[in-house]
Each structure stands twice: as C-alpha cells, then as structure tokens.
Assembly symmetry: C2
Homo-oligomer: 212 residues x 2
Amino acid sequence: MTTPPPGLRERKKQATREALREAALRLAVERGPDQVRVEDIAEAAGVSPRTYNNYFASREQAIVSAVTADREARIAAAVAAGPADVRLADAVTDAVVEQYTDTGEHEHRALLLITTRPALRDAFLDSTAGIEPPLAAVLAERLADAEPHTARVLAAGVAAAVRIALEGWLQPAGNLGGGGLVVPTGALPDQLRATLAPLAPAFDAAERRPAG
Amino acid sequence: MTTPPPGLRERKKQATREALREAALRLAVERGPDQVRVEDIAEAAGVSPRTYNNYFASREQAIVSAVTADREARIAAAVAAGPADVRLADAVTDAVVEQYTDTGEHEHRALLLITTRPALRDAFLDSTAGIEPPLAAVLAERLADAEPHTARVLAAGVAAAVRIALEGWLQPAGNLGGGGLVVPTGALPDQLRATLAPLAPAFDAAERRPAG
DNA sequence: CAGGAAAACTGCGTGCGCGCAAGATTGCGC
DNA sequence: GCGCAATCTTGCGCGCACGCAGTTTTCCTG
C-alpha cells in the first residue's frame, strides 16, 4: 500500500509539476517576481497556460512550491520513521525543525526573494497549511485509539504553530500592537521550538490517555 | 483606548459593509448563490462593483459574512468576560460552543444555503481563521507571563479545531480514506467539544506553568 | 467658518481563476 | 495486439481581483 509501482502516468504528471516549479522559480529570479506572467511560466515548461493551473492555483504558489518542494511529505515521513518509544511531541518537533533547517544554497537565494515580495510571503506562509493532511494521517496511526478528530486537531495545531514561527521569523523587528515587548527574533529553529512547545502537553495527553 | 468615539467616517464604512452583507445574503437566498454577480450585490447596496471588493475579497465572503457577522469578536469578548478562576480551557470551549449554537431563524435558513454550495462551504470554513487574532489578544492577557507566542499558537489551535468540527458537521456521512470507521456526525456542540478537548491539556499547561 | 490634507469612491484596463466541452494519450482487460 | 474506459490536456469564454489615476467626500485645524 505504501508504494505500488508509480505508473508512467503519475510520473509524467510529477515531471510536469517539477518543470513548472523550476521554470517559475528561474524566471522569478531572473527578471523579478512581478515581471513573470503565468503565460511565461507555462511556455517555459512547455504546457498551455490552462494546464498551468491544473497544478497551481496562483502564480505565487508555483514559485513558492519550488522552495517548499514537498516538505510536508518529508515531515510526515520523518515522524513515521521515528522509533515508537520517544515522545510523540519530540518526534514531531524534531521532524519539523529538521525539515525547515535548510542548508541549500539554492533555497537560500529563493528565500531572500520570497521575503521581499508580500504576495510571495503570504503564499509561503499559506503553504504551511499543507502540513496538516499528511501529518494527520501519520498521527492517526500513532494515536489509533484516540478520539477520531484528535490527530487532525493536533496536526492543524502544528501547522498553525509553524506558520506563526515563520511569521515571526520573517519580521525583522516589527512592533506589535499592545504593550508587548518584542522578542529579538531568534533563529528559525528556536522560533519553531518555541511555538511548538505549547502544544507538547496536548500530544502527551493524547498519547497517554488513548480514548479520553 | 478601547472605544475612542467611532467617528462618522468609520460608521459610514460599517454601514456600507452591512449593506453589502445584507444585499449579498438576500440576493443569494432569493435567486440562488450562483445567480448573483458582484455587480448585482454592489447595485443592491448602492455602490460600484469596484467598491465592493474594497470590503470583500470574494463573492462568497460577503454572503458568509452575513451569517458569521462578527462571531469572532463575540467569542473573544465572552472569554474576556468569564471569571478568572475557571479553567481557561473551559472558558474558551464554552464561549465557542455558545457562539456557534445559534438560535436565529434567519441564520438557520442561510446555513442551509451554505451547506449546499461547495464554494460557500469553503468560505464558511475559511471564516474560522478569523477567530485567531481577537482570541489571541484575549489569551495573551490571561497568559501574560507565558512565552510570547503561546497565546497565538493556542488561538490558532482553537481556530483549527473549530474548522475541523465544522467540516465534520457539514459532512452528511462521507467515507474517509483509510480503515477508520466514521462517527455518526453528532450535533455541532458535541463536535466542537470533541475537537477542542485535545487542546485542553495545552491550555492547562500554559496556565499552570507561566514562563516554561 | 474656511482651507487643506487624508481617504474613500469611481472608471478603465489587464491578467488570472476556472467551468465547459472536445481532442489526445495512457492504462487495462480480453 | 486491440479496442474501451479513464484521464489528462487544450481552446474558448466569462467573471472576478486589482493596480492606476482622477474626482468627490470627509475630517481636522486655524
């Protein structure tokens, strides 16, 4: 059930998706994100503009997707691969931190681009929502005995926490409304651990008390 | 700081928003949601189509907004109004359940409309994201000593939980992927309590251990 | 009460998201 | 091998989102 031979059909589909990703990022870097039209991306990838948004809903999604790749799936896989005797909260936190601690030069350059344009920034933050479905599936296995929705709620919580961490990380030193003093915006791994920490007790409880 | 006299400008703005809300809902009910164009809504509200999307990003948002009103603000207000000696988790849960347990005949009719059309259903579910900001502000007061992001993460978790509850509630008896048996889709208050329950330990921990 | 700045509304033009129906391509069973 | 069913791709067209520049309205200050 895990990997029935992919099939040529699906492979071509992924190839097209990859071509669009690559074309979108390349053109965005070359001429600036605002100077790239969907028509250009489609042409560079060798498909029609109409086909383009069978794969991506917006222009920004394609560019961000090139950076994001399928980080969501990798997070879920990392959690699934972890041994069953460690705290679920730790497994999830480590998986998330690891997958967001990129070392790629290629990625770093693109991230600089993303932080510049608000539209790309938003699309980047929205991409965190994609974490929920695969993570929920993995959590459902670990928490098989728990209430049905628990896995989804926890996965959604993680996605939200990641989003908040990224928001904080992308903000240079913006002032927040209210009298709160602003934290000096540490490194991304620290931000991620900080936002995921409040959810740990929920994971522990779900793990410990299967069926509430 | 709470209520500096609203000012005529802001009041007219809210009046226009309300007119658009009302017009959108009325037309949607009268002739069916798909037979309503932005131009029609704008005309009924006495503004130009261009002005329309200074208030709402999409056609569906306006219709949903008429049902949602400002439920987010009421939830936050209910939490803030609650006594300080009850568990924060309970206060939040009760506030959410109460605000989603509508009794309005007007609302009920509109909800029937929303459940029908997928686009409206999606917009309705998306509206839950609006819970986060006001709720986070209220939680930040209660958890003043905690780590800065904790309130936001918890608020986002609540928003996600509500969304999941609504998703489950809107599904008649759809079959889920995997071998899970489907819960008979109870009443909305039960669904909300079920999805909020897993977050309770996180609230307790945040309340108990202020600064981690 | 008058002047000026700020902000909201409007018209116009362009590009995008997406439904629809027809054509092309793949995969499967006989 | 061969045809059939499923699905992906494409052209077409409509409605919407949004930037831009100009006009009108509102608000504040002297």
